[in-house]
């Protein structure tokens, strides 16, 4: 599966570790990426100058015709990564499509070493791109269907297929979009409509025109039903000769290979954005509710709140006796609240008038009657 970065970060890390090691080290690493790409890096103490890198990657297959092994063009592109350092080993290791022997002593010193190792780590991307480039160039002229070439089905991931249709003046790349969740479909559809909108503007006249449609384009008539059943519609890019000239070919091919990953990544990031935004809004809504949450003791609480919230110095300046008295007042009020949970209007006055314990006057206040 293609990804935004051409160089595999884990492979790069291992190769750097191997290159920078002071002493020869023995390495036997198996790396798995995207569920279908496998790397095997080997280095032995007996041959410290060389390391072996084997790659197994799903190839772009043309429908039922699986291409076994790599084409000559792909091999040439891989060799061209670094002619001095990379050497293709024939035959490849069992279970892998390609085995490379890396001559670590030929890697230049200094900053260039990083560049070379990064380029070697892009081997999987190079293999994929070279296959698509070859397909775009060489199409069997006998495969015609109603004046156009038959659609070429490319499968580099079981659920992510796309079609390349060579037409007289252009090449059309059609992507059937499929998503697992309904919300993903809606977000992706909104994005694809924006993509179509932006692509059709005058400012972006140089880019391949793209369009989105909920139904398959007429060029795909005759293809199996299960390949054309989607929930996200179809995106079509029209590639003209100017888009595959010179250096643009590489960019165009890489963008097409990355299209699915790009859309899915955007959907994932949008969902994360929505979640963050909702969380932030929740905080502000809850703050709004704190406002009305003031009971009968609003005034006293406000005063206390002000006393508490204002600078600490004020509470420090209050005498201890007054602080204790205030705390006692809070405490008795809380007890009263607990005791008198059920509020009946008018009962307070009734209680004060009829239910208070009568105060007996002290002996000091007693007036003796003669």
């Amino acid at each position: 599966m293609a990804c935004f970065e051409r160089a595999s970060p884990s492979l790069k890390k291992i190769l750097l570790q191997l290159y920078r090691a002071d002493k020869p080290i023995e390495i036997d690493h198996h790396l798995h990426e995207f569920g279908s790409v496998e790397y095997h890096v080997q280095s032995s103490l007996s041959d410290p100058q060389h390391a072996y890198l084997s790659i197994s990657t799903p190839l772009l297959s043309q429908g039922d015709l699986l291409s076994y092994g790599l084409s000559h063009y792909s091999m040439e592109m891989v060799k061209a990564i670094s002619l001095d350092v990379v050497e293709i080993v024939q035959p490849a290791k069992e279970g892998y499509q390609l085995t490379l022997r890396l001559n670590l002593s030929k890697i230049p010193r200094g900053k260039d070493s990083m560049k070379v190792i990064s380029e070697i780590s892009t081997v999987q991307a190079t293999i994929l791109s070279s296959q698509l480039k070859e397909m775009l160039w060489t199409v069997n002229s006998e495969d015609t269907f109603q004046g156009m070439c038959k659609p070429i089905k490319l499968v580099y991931h079981p659920r992510e297929t796309f079609y390349v249709i060579k037409q007289p003046l252009k090449i059309a790349a059609v992507f059937p979009m499929r998503f697992k969740e309904h919300s993903d479909v809606i977000i992706a559809t909104a994005f694809l409509q924006e993509l179509t909108d932006v692509g059709s503007s005058k400012k972006w006249a140089k880019v391949p025109p793209c369009c989105w449609a909920p139904i398959p384009p007429p060029e795909l008539r005759g293809e199996p039903f299960e390949d054309l059943s989607t929930n996200g519609g179809f995106v079509t890019f029209d590639i003209y000769p100017r888009h595959i000239e010179g250096k643009r070919l590489d960019k165009t091919v890489w963008s097409l290979l990355n299209f699915y990953a790009y859309v899915k990544y955007h959907v994932k990031c949008t969902k994360g954005f929505i979640q963050r935004r909702m969380r932030k809004r929740l905080e502000s809504l809850v703050e709004t509710l704190q406002g009305p949450n003031l009971g009968e003791d609003e005034q006293t609480e406000k005063v206390q709140g002000n006393a508490r919230c204002s600078c600490v110095g004020k509470s420090v300046r209050l005498p201890k006796f007054k602080m204790l008295k205030r705390k006692y007042g809070d405490f008795t009020r809380k007890i009263k609240k607990l005791r008198f949970r059920i509020k009946i209007h008018g009962f307070r006055r009734f209680r004060q008038r009829w239910l208070t314990i009568p105060k007996f006057s002290s002996s000091m206040g007693y007036t003796k009657l003669d």
């Binding site: 932006v198 954005f273 009305p292 003031l294």
Partner: protein, 169 residues
């Protein structure tokens, strides 16, 4: 604020003002229990007539009152699929955190997007007019938030599309 929205919110405010006269009333069926009668609906004499206030076909508010509790259910406008999923996500997010709001119901009433349950205890702890202000403000904020979310999602999509197309240049 548009005229229809203003009228709609004013109508809801006035209705809530009249309906939020709650008092404590223990359960008639079970001893020593105190339940919101609007949820149980076992005693018709304790229930008032429900009021349905509709702004249009898509937006409406149902106010059900009883002697000790009040239930407000809201249906928020959803113009397209994107607003639909944003509304569902956002209101579900709030409902799952209902304890933070105290008056929010965890599950909306069937046919509505979000529901509030106000009991006499809430009226004792909080001021009535502020509670009504909160409900009305909540309705405005939800509409505003959904619109902003939709705009943000579309803007993000546009920016991402621009970045993708730049790769071809």
């Amino acid at each position: 604020m548009s005229n229809t929205l203003r009228l709609y919110l004013a109508c809801i405010r006035n209705t809530l003002d009249a309906a939020l006269c709650l008092q404590n009333f223990p359960c008639q069926e079970v001893e020593r229990h105190n339940k919101p009668e609007v949820e149980l609906k076992t005693s018709p004499e304790l229930l008032l007539n429900p009021i349905l206030i509709c702004r249009n076909e898509a937006e409406k508010c149902l106010i059900e009152t009883s002697i000790n509790s009040l239930r407000i259910s809201l249906k928020v406008k959803q113009a397209d699929e994107l607003e639909n999923i944003l509304t569902k996500k956002f209101l579900r997010f709030l409902s799952m955190r209902a304890e933070a709001f105290q008056v929010l119901r965890r599950k909306p009433v069937q046919g509505y997007d979000i529901s509030f349950l106000i009991t006499n205890y809430h009226c004792e702890e909080m001021q009535k007019h502020k509670l009504i202000d909160f409900i009305v403000q909540f309705m405005e904020d939800i509409d505003k938030e959904i619109s902003e979310l939709k705009m943000s999602v579309n803007t993000r999509g546009r920016l991402v599309a621009t970045e993708f197309l730049k790769q071809f240049v």
